[in-house]
Each structure stands twice: as C-alpha cells, then as structure tokens.
C-alpha cells in the first residue's frame, strides 16, 4: 500500500510540475498568429499547386490575410473557395473564369532529323541541336509535361502529342514552364478556337517538315469577322481579346490547324471518363486548434 501511495504521490507531483512548466511555456513563448491567416488557410484546398502564383497554400493565405491580395486566385478551389475566403476577409469575391492549358502544336508525320540517343526528356533533347524533330518549333514527344502535371491532366497520345484534359486541368502553368519549346498557353476556357502551330517557317518549308503546319495562307485573316486573327512572321496569331470563337476560321483553314477545341473533345472522351473518377483535389480538413 505504501509503495502504491508513494508512486501516486511522486507521479502526481511530477505531473503537476510538468503541467505548470507547459502552461508557463505556452504563455511565455506564445506566437501571435493572425487568426485570419489560419482561417484562410483552412479554407484552401491545401495541395500546394502554386497556380495562384505563391509558393503553396500557406503563403497564399498569408498574402490574402495580411497583404490584401485578391481572394479569387485559387484555381483548383474555384468559386467555392473564393466565396469562403471572401466571407472570412469580408470582401466580395469577383468571378474568375476557369483557365486551361492548350498545346499549340498539332504535329503530324514529323520525321526525326537525326537519331537521338541521349537522356530521354524534352529539355535534354532540346539541348542537342534544338531537338531531334525535323520541325524545330514543334513538340519533342518525350512528355515532360505529362510528368510534371500535378493533377495528371496531361496524357501522351500514341501519335506522340500530349493532350490536356480540360476537366482536370487547374491552369497551374507547370507544363508551360517546363516545355522547352514554350508550346503551352494558359487560356480562358471560353476561348476554344486556337491556332495549334508555332512554326515560323515559310509555307513551303513548313509543309515539307509536317503535314499540319500553319502555311500563312491568310485565309483566316480574310474571313475573320472580328479582325481577331492576323498572320505575322508566317504564323496566324489570334487576339483573344477580340476572338468570339465563332469558328469561321476553322472552316477555311486548309491544313486543319485552326481547330475548335470543343469539337475535338469527343475523340478523347473515352479516357476522360476513366480519369474523371479520380479525385481532382483531396480536400484537407480545416485545422483545429483551440
């Protein structure tokens, strides 16, 4: 009985001692965190994709709470998160259109100009004479963008061109950053007519290298009712501020590189459905701290 009592008393004192120590430390070394930062961070998806332009969710949360950065920058969270952040911060979230990555290349039958046997990624191949492909502007088909995509929205097709699943794309821009040929553009989803070529060669030269080049025939420029498409440097370029995606240029393009992206989608729907089940965002529960 005595041993039990001794144990109880000694353990009790020890517990009291450490408890007091902890209580003192928590008061003495308390770090003031703006509660809004925590609230904002709790409302963010927490996948640290970087699409907002900040290095992760907590950095963006700090920027929102302390620097007054707009609340609608979270891409994967979309409108729902923007609204939540707006509630926390007491501002009204402006609507922000979903944007997606678009590959500006529709290479077809582009032959290799030499046999490449180096490191198998696009950037390494690009360092060797600008890549093994005959077309020096086009896709190198090693799929760096496929590897880097955080939501697995990009997949390599058998023809050697990657394709972007618009439903999964969160417009983080990582593919645009990694592509050594700068083939990706991040564009609003409402714009779905694109000139999917970057070739600046003259028509004849371009046609020898690829079955699907922009040959700068000017047909699109003539037919455009909104003066939104212009051929500069042997390449048709769309001014997306003027473009209404009416599709007139798509009808006249002789090499089929001006494409209505929506029309092309049923062709990829088979695998889109497989992938759509995968959760785009694993949502983190808000942090609980007393």
């Amino acid at each position: 009985m005595e041993t039990v009592l001794a144990a109880l008393i000694s353990m009790g004192f020890l517990g009291l001692f450490f408890g007091l120590g902890l209580a003192f430390a928590s008061e003495r070394f308390h770090v003031d965190v703006n509660p809004k930062v925590e609230q904002v961070e709790g409302s963010l998806p927490g996948i640290n994709c970087g699409a907002c332009g900040y290095a992760g969710c907590s950095k963006y949360a700090q920027a929102v709470a302390l620097e007054g950065v707009p609340v609608n920058l979270c891409v994967p969270g979309g409108e729902a998160v923007a609204e939540k952040l707006g509630n926390v911060m007491g501002v009204k979230a402006e609507k922000r259109e979903k944007r997606v990555a678009v590959l500006m290349c529709s290479a077809k039958n582009v032959k290799d100009k030499f046999h490449y046997s180096g490191v198998t990624n696009c950037r390494a191949a690009f360092l060797v004479q600008g890549g093994q492909k005959n077309c020096e502007y086009g896709c190198l088909s090693f799929g760096d963008c496929v590897v880097v995509c955080p939501t697995k929205a990009i997949k390599m097709q058998p023809n050697g061109l990657p394709v972007v699943n618009e439903d999964l794309c969160i417009a983080c821009g990582k593919c645009a950053e990694i592509c050594p040929k700068n083939l990706y553009k991040i564009l609003p989803i409402s714009k779905y007519v694109h000139v999917r070529c970057m070739n600046l060669d003259k028509g004849g030269t371009a046609k020898k290298k690829c079955d699907n080049p922009c040959i700068a025939c000017m047909k699109c420029q003539k037919v455009c009712p909104f003066d939104a498409i212009h051929v500069t440097n042997n390449l048709a370029v769309i001014d997306y501020n003027k473009c209404t995606s009416c599709g007139e240029c798509v009808k006249v393009c002789p090499t089929n590189i001006i494409r209505n992206y929506r029309d092309g989608r049923p062709a990829v729907a088979g695998w889109v459905n497989q992938w759509i089940d995968m959760a785009m965002v694993t949502k983190r529960s808000p942090k609980k701290r007393s």
């Binding site: 007054g68 501002v91 950037r123 390494a124 690009f126 360092l127 004479q129 890549g131 950053e177």
Partner: protein, 469 residues
Amino acid sequence: MLAGVKELKSFNGGIHPPFDGKSLSKNKEITQAPLPEVAYLYMSQHIGVPAKPVVAKGDVVKKGQKIGEAPALVSAHIHATVAGKVTDITFKPHPVTGARTQVVVIQREGDDEWAPGLDEPQDVEAMSPDDIRNLIREAGTVGLGGAAFPTHVKLSPPKDKKVDAVILNGAECEPYLTCDYRLLMEKTKEVIEGLKIIMKCLGCKNAYVGIEANKPDAYDKVRSAVGEDPHIKVELLEVKYPQGAEHQLIKAILGREFKPTQLPIEAGAVVHNVSTTYAIYEAVKYKRPLIQRVVSITGDGVENPNNLLVRIGTPIEPLLKAARLKEDANKVIYGGPLMGIAQPSIADAVTVKGTGGLLVMRNAGEWQSRACIRCGKCVDACPYGLNPSLLSILCESEHFQQAMEFNLMECKECGCCTYVCTSRRPIVHLIKTAKYELARQKARAQEAQKAKEAQKAQAAPAVTATAPK
C-alpha cells in the same frame, strides 16, 4: 630526344583513351581547301552578344571586309571570308548551339581579293599594347580551341589583377585533333612570334609553352625556335585529357590552383591556344582578319584524313567528300570526341570559328544507360574534384538545388566521367540539362518578381479601400 626531362608535369584526375587517333592525320601537311562557292557566316560564332550585320542584301563585299559589328565588349566582329555578293541575310540553326541564329550568305564572285587597308605588314615594335588589342579586336579573333571566347577580352585584364605568366597551350589533349600540332610543326616561328605579341600586349615577362609528351618533334621544334630566350620556357606535359584545359594547364605548369568558377586571371595567368596565337600573329603582323583556320578532317569514317586551311563558313559536305567519306560513316562531330558537338546532318552544316576538327565516326553505336553502381571511377577521373556520380543522380531526379550544393556549376563538362562510366550513364548530358533548367528557373523568377512588383504598384491603393484592418 627528350634528354634532360625528368618528370612530366601533370594534374590530378583525367583520362587517356588507349587509341587517341592522332596518328590518322598527324603527318598530313596543312593544305589550302578549295574556296566555298557559297559561304554562310553566322553572326554568333563566339561567346557573348551576337554581332549585328552591317551589310545589306545585294551588297558586294571583298575578302576580309567587316560584315558583322560587335555591339558590346564581350563580342567579336565577323568578316567576309570570300569576295562576292551578299545574297541573303536570314536565320538558320547554329551548328554548335542549335539555336536559330542570324546568318549572312555570300555568293563567291570575282577574284579572291583583300578589302582595302588589309593584308599590309605592320611594325609590331612600334605598337603600344592598346594598338595590339585594337588590331586583335578589329580582326574578330576568338579562342580557337573550341570555346570561342573573344581574345581581346582575355588580353584586357582588370587593372587590379597582375598577369605574370602567359601560357601557350600546345597540349591538344582532345583525341584525334591535330590542327594545333600541325601549326606547331609548320609555323613554329610565327606561333612563337604571336606569343611574343601577347607578352608585349599584357606587359608580361614570362611565358610557358605546354606540349604533351606524345608530340616530341613539336617539342624539339619549339625549343629550337625559342632558342636562348630565357623568358620562354617549353614544358613537356603528361599525355592526359584534359591537359589543355586552362585549370589543368595552369596547375601542371605553374602549380597554381584556383576555383573552377574563377577565370585564370585569378591565378595571374593567361592561356592561349596555338591556333589562336597564330591568328593573333596574322592579325597584328599583317592586319589579316580571322577568315580561315586549320581544320583536321579525321576519324575512321574518312579514307583520307587531312589537315586543311578552311575558310570560315565553308559547308562541310564537299570537305568530307574530298576526304573520301566512307559509306558506313554515321556520325560527324565538330571538335573532338569528348567535348565536340555531333551534327544532325552534313548537308546544312558549315564551319564556324571554333571548329578545330571534323571527326567522322564509323561505328558510333548506341547504348543503354543503367543505374549508377557507385564504383567511383568518375570521382577518380574528374579533374575538378567533383563527385559526378552524385551529381548525375541528383540531376536525373531533378534535385537541382541540391546538385548546386555539390558544386554543379564548377563542372566544365569535359566528359571524363562519361568516358569512364561503367554503367554508361550520360553524366555530362544530365549536368548540361540541369544547368539549362536552373538558368530557366532563374530567368522565370526574375520575371515573376518584376511582374509582382508592377502588380503591387498598381493594386496598392485599391486594396486599402476594400480590406480595412
């Protein structure tokens, strides 16, 4: 023959292939190559800012006339290498960098005549160092060892740095290449004269000539050409790659070491290669711009390896055909096998200032690279004391920042590690990719910073209105 030589000077690390291929073209005298019908002159044949064309389409130019003006200090002028007419100014992929570069196309016409004011003997004795520097700059001379660094920049050291040794680099450590060896054999006096011009320009009293021990006849020739001059020492070096790299040469001859990221000027030395020194001699003594150089056409892919004096901008296909290209040749490399650049096709490629050799390979095969087994051979071979095995692993898994901590930037891409690798890993290629990616990341970060600052400057008043504290 090599009496009196006790010990060969050398450095740590490095490699030497069992067959160095020098015997193929070693005894072939330098001959003038036929002039090109059309010369393609890239505006960027050097390290630094590309030159700007100062001629227009349709202009008639003389040999040696300046057609590209250097817009900055670290840049070099470009001169017409044949007399003729400018038929086009366009963009073409560069044979070394692969990037689209401006190129002036000249169709050869009329006599091969120098432009006025050129090709006149000059009085070197009466020149000041600045005169020499200006002549070299006007001649568009660059380092002809391969890196093509503008020579006049090397000859203008910062005022607080003292140069007490000029080194003439006659090592020619890259296997197969023999252009420097032939110049040493045939133009010994001129090269030594060029070395004296460099010494005068830098105000430097001591000079060294470094020659690898596999060129004893060149060593003898240089010694007899130097004669009794007490200021020029001729040193015999161990046969090892990269003996001709600046760091290794300075270590071997002067015993001084400096960081791989620093320039040789930190060690008080300036290194010039034999071809460059000969070009300096031509530029200063005769006011001849750099329009031709010696190119070794060699390798087991040609039946008749030779050393040719080739005008810069000559298409390589006729040169190779003249050397009797074998049917099964499957790889053409600009430069040597270790640091050279393989060409995608012989139809479009033309020579540039830095092209010291055209190496044609016959059995260039392909291999599968495997995982690193950490045998440590690359660590032994690395002349810069790096750990290439670790760097390759970090670069392969894209841990670029970590690779930076292991001194990625000190790698000079000499290729020793890739040569010795038992797993046949493309170590240099991985390191090059990592450096490229890091440079892009840096550029992107700077851009983002700028954009952010601009955005902040715009958004600042609006924010205080909508989100009061």
